[in-house]
Amino acid sequence: MREANRTLINPLGLHARAAAKLVDVANKFASQQTLTFKTKTVDCKSIMSLLLLGAPVGSDVTIKAEGEDEIAAIAAIVELIDLGFHELEDS
């Protein structure tokens, strides 16, 4: 199991489009991946669950991945979050 902590930096937080991008990335990996915000932990492959977190900009989140490709999975999700879900330039 791999784990990383990150802060959401895109101004709109984990809104619908960002959550959809996270699901797209998560689905590329066989590992089970979760995102934790405050007391809730959800599956990164379910957009409805990700939106349920209601995580705004500045949220401290924990990403966990478990499975054969967990290292690559964590790296890909961390990259997406650090790049502000590719929306820093247009928001």
Binding site: H15, A20, V23, T39, S46, I47, M48, L51, L52, P56
Partner: protein, 170 residues
């Protein structure tokens, strides 16, 4: 802070169309724009403008979630968030991530300046729709009034759940 949920606050101004018949995304969004505009005719935006904004957002990627639920939305210059709840008689293909056809739509028109309230709304809508029993009740609604009344009940129940989860002892 003992306050009503964001969804509960919005519901008195929300509009609904229960068991609408649409065979395409375009028709669904036209109907959404019509009823949102009809509820707030003083708005600077016409139904045509709203439709264009909603379509533009869909082109960036479908707003379908899972389990037959979608959240078409757009940001426009307006004073407050507007919500329309639409259910379809027959589900349509909305390019959902789980491949399921979609028949429950929450249409949100959000002020451009608004940063966090829509996240709370999306979280509340997702919490309600994650529950299969709730989705069945939504699909069983027969009239617009039924649909709005159901959401008043569900949003109140959802707020109670989050209190129990420890945000505040009453």
């Amino acid at each position: 802070m003992s306050q009503p949920s964001a969804l509960a606050e919005l519901l008195p101004y929300a509009v609904a169309d229960c068991l609408f018949t649409a065979h395409s995304r375009k028709r669904l969004l036209q109907r959404a724009a019509e009823i949102v505009d009809g509820a707030a005719p003083a708005s600077a935006l016409s139904a045509d403008d709203l439709f264009d904004h909603l379509m533009e957002r869909e082109r960036l990627g479908s707003t379908a979630l899972e389990h037959g639920v979608a959240i078409p939305h757009c940001r426009v210059s307006c004073d407050q968030v507007k919500l329309a709840i639409i259910t379809l008689r027959e589900a349509i293909d909305y390019e959902s991530l789980d491949g399921a056809k979609t028949d429950i739509f929450f249409v949100l028109v959000v002020p451009e300046t608004e940063k966090t309230r829509h996240l709370t709304l999306l979280a509340e809508i997702s919490a309600i729709c994650s529950d299969q029993a709730n989705r069945i009740m939504i699909r069983n609604c027969q009239t617009d009034a039924d649909l709005l009344r159901l959401f008043e009940q569900l949003s109140a129940a959802d707020a109670d759940d989050s209190k129990q989860a420890g945000s505040r002892s009453v």
